[in-house]
Structures are given as C-alpha cells and as structure tokens.
C-alpha cells in the first residue's frame, strides 16, 4: 500500500515552466460544481480544492497525461493540452 504521492514518486517528470492545464472560469467551480469530480477521479491528484482561496489548485507538475480531466469536468471547465514536446511524464515501463 502506498499513498498517491508515493506512487507518483516512482515516476520521472521533466517539468515545463508553464502549465499545460488551466481552469478557464474558476467561478464555476465555486458556484456551480458541487461534487468536484476532478479532485477525486484524477489518477495523479492534480486537482485540489483550496478552501482558503476558494478555488481549484492545479498541480500540473504531477500530471501523468491520461487526459481524463477533459471528460471528467461536468462543466467542460478544464483546459487540458499536451505538454510541449519532450516535457511532462516519461514512463520507464509504461
């Protein structure tokens, strides 16, 4: 058994200085999205609800690039693009 953080620790990332993920309209997360499925279903726990800032914080550095976020958001409010060439996760086994 291991936490998701430990699981992600097995991976190699080359992080870009710019995020490949954004939330175009943070207001929707606050006012319309009760369940916030992105905070649960993302396999790398990239999306976290920050109660003090009242918004979703995006830890793009941990993204394993499955792409599910685009489909998980009920409001199509996650803009997910591929990291630039050569950046992001590099699997050794896959």
């Amino acid at each position: 058994m291991s936490t998701v953080e430990e699981k992600l620790g097995t991976l190699a990332f080359k992080n870009d200085h710019q995020s490949h993920i954004s939330i175009p309209n943070p207001k929707i997360c606050l006012t319309q999205c009760k369940d916030k499925p992105c905070t649960k279903v993302c396999p790398a726990k990239v999306y976290d609800w920050d109660e003090s800032q009242k918004k979703i914080v995006v830890g793009y550095e941990n993204c394993i690039e499955c792409g599910a976020a685009r489909m998980i958001c009920p409001f199509q409010n996650i803009r997910w693009e591929m990291p630039r060439g050569g950046f992001g996760v590099s699997y050794k086994f896959g």
Binding site: A68, P74, M82, G85, S90
Partner: protein
Amino acid sequence: MADEKFDVIIVGAGPAGASAAITCARTGLSTVLLERGEYPGAKNVQGGILYTKMLTEIIPDFWKEPKPPVERHITEQKVMLLSNQSAIHLGFKSADWRKEPHNCYSIIRVSFDRWYAKKAEEAGAELYTGVLVSDLIKKNGKICGVKTSEGDELFANVVIACDGVNSLLAQKAGLIDEWRPDEVALAVKETLALPKEKIEERFSLEANEGATFEMFGKVTEGMLGYAFLYTNKESLSLGVGCKVSHFQKTGIPPYELLDHLKAHPILKPLIKDAQSLEYSGHLIPEGGYYSMPPLYTDGFLIAGDAAQMVNPSHREGSNLAMTAGKLAAETVIESKKTGDTSSKFLSLYQKKLRETFIIPDLYDHKDLEEKIEERPELLTDIPDLVCNAAYEYFNVDGRAKRDVQSAILKKIFRNKAVRKIIKSELNLKNLLGLFKGAVKSALNYKNLS
C-alpha cells in the same frame, strides 16, 4: 527539419505509427515519424499483452532476435470472479502455447516501443522525438502538413495520425470533437518487481512462461471494467480499469481502487514483497464501433487508439493498431503511385480494414458494454452470489449434500438480482427480439459499404 516536404508524416511512435513508418520506409517513401515523448514509449502505457501474429506480418521471426522486445510467452490465461474473500477461477493452459510462434507475450511497453521505433529508423524513416505536433496545415481544404509546438512546419502528401487516445490531430482534422466519458476507460497500474524464481514458483510456471489473469467482480466496486495481473520476466503488472463515466459517478479515486486490489486477500500473497517500480495511468478508447471516427479525409488517415481501435473484451488494442498502421501505410503507398491523395482515394484504407479482423471484431462487440451496463447487478450481486454458492458447496459442514444443494438453489432463485434478470430476460418477446436482432445485424453487416 524546418519546412521540408515528405511523402508521409506519421505522428506518434507507438505500435500504429511505427508499423506505418516501417511499411512506408521499406518501399522507399520519404517517411518522417514524430513523437512528443523524450523517447518512443515515454507517454505510453499498456497492460500489457502483445499478440504475435500481427507483429510477425511486419517483423517476421522477431522472437528469434538475440534480445526480443518481449517478456514471457503466455501459456496460461485465467479469468477470475472475485468477491471480498473468495475467487472463482476459470483457466486455460496449453502446452501448444509453448511452441513457437507463441500466441502472445507479456511486454514492458516502453521497451517494446523503443525497439519498434528503432526498426522504423532501420527501415529508413526519420524519427524525431520530443516533438509535439500542435496543428495541421491545410491547403485548399486538403491536409498537407503539420505544425509543431515550436513553430516548425513540415509538409507531406499524406499525414497519418497515430497520436493515441487523446488524438489532437483527429480533432484538428475535424473528424472527432471530444470523447464522451462513456467512450473511454481510465486504467491505472503498478509494475511490481519480483525475482523470476519467485514469479515461476508463485504462478507454477516454467522458465520464460507467463500467465495472465483478468479479474471481475468486487475489484471494480460495481463499475464497468476489470482488473488484470500479468507476469513479466522479473516483475508483475497489476492494474485496474473502468469506464470514465463510472469513475465520475462513483467518485472513487483510481489509485484507491488499485490499493484495494493490492490488498485483496486472494491477490496479496501473489504480490507479497514485490516493490513498486512504477505507477502509471492511461485512457483506453472503449467506445468501439459506434465511436470510431471517419478514418480518412483529404490527405489524412487515422490508425490505432486515435481511431478507437480497441477490443476491450479480448484485451486487444496494440495488435489492431499494428495492422491498421500497416494498412494505412499500404494505402499511402498506393496513393503515391497514382498521385491521388483525395478522401475518395484514401477510402481504400477503410476497405482494407473491413477485409481484416479489425472492423468485423469491433462491429461484433459493439453492443456488449451497453448490454452489461443495463444489468449493473452483473458487476456486483452476481459475482458475490456465485462465490458464496461455491463456498457453501465446497465447505463440508455436516449437512447432507442434497440439503446443501437445495439450500444453494433456493438462495440463487430467491436472490433479487437473479429474479430481476429472469423476469426481464425470459419472455417470449425477448426471445423473438433476440432472433430479430440477430437477423437484422447479419443483414446490416452484409450491407455495410
């Protein structure tokens, strides 16, 4: 490589892309293969089982190489039905599967992709890694090249999109919009290190022989999907995948589902002391036949995951991708001869696909997932019921066998889920419907152009 013109640009160096590149380059077409990862395979995940036949059609006798890109040849396949405490196994093992060419192998996908892309380079394709294609270039409505995220432009007579389940190119070509959450599955897995003697001992395997397990029931918490365990040379691949729409509905974190699987009392001893080498996650296009996009347009073809070419009920995908990549390449080779890269000419690709197993298999499994989804009890109540019945049957508790048997039958027929299924399935209307449906789909299939 700025502003160059090629016969063909292939985007994505996975099984579909490398197959296409090898086939094109071998006939002398100027071929460029672009991969966004630092190296081929860097972004790719597979369970993974690789079927031999489709690869031998491109690289004959690959297994005879000094270092073949495979782990163990599979001699045993098991399906398991799991409840919380128990498991029913249905397995098949064959000595025939010890003979070459083997039916299938377990693979480490990244090693495989690196090997396969090297074959494309050896055939004469130019491979560029770390290159993200961000857009298509069109001229008079026809696709004639690609633009990279760094601003380079490359031109070609035809572009083949093999860029996987998150195909940006199929979207840019206007052939798909976005997958719905019920058209894709999300799978997570861990590669777990275990010495080879332990693997062979725990799974009763000879040297280099491997086993596969597909697991249904409690392990998916009622979501449509299954778990898998495959034996590699010195590691195990353990994972679980379910429909994205079901993850969305249940809100179960995929890594927690994986941890439950690892803690299952039947599986735990099999992975004991195995250290996690890597965690991974990927989408699997499981929409099947209905979700396949148009496969061609002017100057453009799609193959592999990008085109939803996956048969989940038979855990096949990379083999479909290889055959499709090869057929896309053969279509491009034909188009080079005639100089015609119009949509009309490239439709030859679809015709070729219909003549293989790919479209017939996807067509025949098109309604399977929907049918299971209509019966959610198949994923939860029924596995429990069957495991409990087996427990009662094999457990000697002093009762006469006839009493045990009638108690089990009573439980089965009084079970709500079973009653529900019997009630809704066993009636004249359904039987007639089944017959009509079979005739209709047979006719439909015959009429597909």
